[in-house]
């Protein structure tokens, strides 16, 4: 149990997907202008990450490994993720239209979020067990949402600031992200040595 908790903390803050592993940077910069939309994106991504973590673990262990098709991993995983995202969108639209209205627009973007595929590939390379994969995915998703929401908050605050014209927008966002990444490096102390 403490092991799983550590895995969760590790993937959420210490080895944050966005700020330490450089995964999911496109939405991190693209959808971080307002706190509300960034939270929506974060929730949707976390959901898809956990689902796809489960799906790719099952595919890998019950299809690719028995058939010795590990070299097809990339193509099968990305197709599984794309299908899953489509499926989630369909289900949401039918049964929870309110939720779909809130999160629907982010779903297509998630397929090409490298955090999702990256999570699946990393879980395989680290040979995580099923439970570990789920915890890893959950931690990764929450870490992603955290980074996104913090960034959005900072950017909302920065809107009124006097920033040199050339640095407005993505440039200052990247530098802010660098400073955030430094702060997140400080979390490495909470893991036991």
């Amino acid at each position: 149990m403490p092991k799983l908790l550590l895995l969760f903390i590790s993937s959420a803050v210490v080895n944050n997907f966005v700020l330490a592993k450089f995964l999911g940077n496109c939405p991190f910069l693209g959808v971080s202008k307002e706190v509300n939309t960034s939270l929506g994106m974060g929730v949707a991504t976390t959901f898809v990450m956990v689902m796809s973590g489960v799906a790719t673990w099952l595919i890998n262990h019950y299809l690719l490994i028995p058939l010795e098709l590990q070299y097809m991993q990339t193509i099968v995983f990305i197709l599984a993720i794309a299908t899953l995202v489509q499926f989630v969108e369909m289900v949401m639209k039918k049964y929870t239209p309110a939720l779909h209205r809130a999160l629907g627009i982010y779903l297509p973007l998630i397929t090409t979020n490298c955090a999702v595929l990256g999570l699946a590939v990393m879980a395989v390379r680290e040979s995580y067990s099923f439970i570990e994969t789920v915890v890893f995915a959950l931690g990764g998703g929450i870490g992603f949402s955290l980074a996104l929401a913090l960034m959005a908050g900072l950017r909302e605050d920065m809107k009124e600031d006097l920033i040199p014209e050339a640095f407005r927008g993505p440039a200052i966002a990247l530098i802010t992200a660098g400073i955030m990444a430094m702060a997140f490096m400080g979390f490495s102390g909470i893991l036991p040595s």
């Binding site: 592993k21 990393m122 040979s127 490096m185 979390f187 893991l191 036991p192 040595s193």
Partner: protein
């Protein structure tokens, strides 16, 4: 584009998938033998680098052949035919003159500072038993004798914060087991999360132990040993080579590692690996004693140390009965 019916969609998707699967299967058939062959060949190439040039290098299959070759080489050098690794021997720095000794202990290169509540008489005693007795480690632990090292100051080395006690000896040896699981939550204090970790290519099955011998005119010119231990991210596989008498280290190289890029991965750099050349094998091979760790990457450095210890332990056992002790 015109609107297509369902059949068309399914057909096109199926064809694309099938073609792609066929192409990938072909590609895999072409590349995977090369990948496998390289994995097998990698060790031999490293062995060639670490063993004397021009010698005939072969992988050792039969332990008794190697044992008799070693015995021969040692006799020729006027040594006892049986070789044993003595981890309790005093650490010897390769090219560093012995520092002044405050206490009469056979730790050239180290100075001792008694811990505050300890009397010098006791210290002497502990030092004495340490030389005589294998269980001296326990005494060392009780007394917590602290000694700091000040022998070398390479720019990669940062000893300023490190103190070592006898009690740590066991930890260093068992290090691989302590962090048995492949999680990377070790060492918060030294390795930053940082940088995309270079992940292992695939489930590479690196051997826990392998021996290569180099023959020159029928005589043993060198022996290279493969060993592994856990690092910060995964296994560290090293190869260490000795001269024919097994008295001296000729070279060391890291064969495979997945440590943090730019930090733990510095164990592969020559700055770190060259320190082993010329060291006598009668060394404990512990970081902070006779190994200069990479600054900021204590766990990776300790992983290398543990692998070196495994190499020596395994080689000793292998020469006796062809089995190995660690990582079997």
């Amino acid at each position: 584009m015109k609107k297509s019916n369902l059949l068309n969609i399914v057909l096109v998707l199926t064809i694309i998938s099938l073609v792609s699967a066929a192409v990938l299967t072909l590609a895999n058939d072409k590349f995977s033998p090369i990948i496998k062959a390289r994995e097998n060949d990698k060790l031999r190439i490293v062995a060639q680098k670490l063993l004397p040039e021009g010698a005939q290098i072969t992988k050792v299959a039969n332990y008794s052949d190697l044992a008799s070759l070693v015995a021969e080489a040692r006799k020729a050098a006027g040594l006892s035919p049986d070789w044993h690794w003595n981890p309790d021997a005093a650490p010897v720095e390769a090219a560093v003159p012995a520092e002044e000794e405050k206490v009469e202990l056979d730790f050239s290169g180290f100075t001792f500072e008694e811990s505050e509540d300890e009397e010098e008489v006791e210290l002497d005693l502990s030092g004495f038993t340490f030389e005589e007795n294998d269980e001296a480690e326990e005494i060392g632990t009780e007394e917590e004798t602290v000694f700091t090292e000040d022998s070398e100051d390479l720019d990669t080395v940062d000893f300023s914060e490190e103190t070592f006690s006898f009690g740590e000896e066991e930890e260093a040896v068992d290090f691989g087991d302590m962090f048995g699981d492949a999680f990377d939550f070790t060492g918060g204090e030294e390795e930053a999360p940082a940088e995309a970790p270079t992940e292992p290519a695939q489930e590479e099955v690196a051997p826990a132990f392998e021996v290569y011998q180099a023959l020159e005119n029928g005589k043993l010119a060198g022996v290279a040993v493969v060993a592994k231990a856990k690092g910060y991210h995964g296994d560290i596989v090293i190869m260490i080579s000795f001269d024919g008498t097994l008295e001296k280290v000729v070279g060391m190289d890291v064969v495979q590692q997945t440590e943090t890029a730019g930090l733990g991965s510095l164990i592969t750099e020559e700055k770190f690996t060259k320190q082993f050349a010329g060291k006598p094998t009668g060394n404990p091979f512990e970081t902070g004693k006779d190994i200069q760790g990479v600054a900021g990457a204590t766990i990776s450095s300790k992983g290398v140390a543990a692998a070196l210890q495994n190499a020596l332990k395994n080689l000793e056992q292998f020469l006796i009965d062809g089995t190995i002790k660690e990582g079997a």
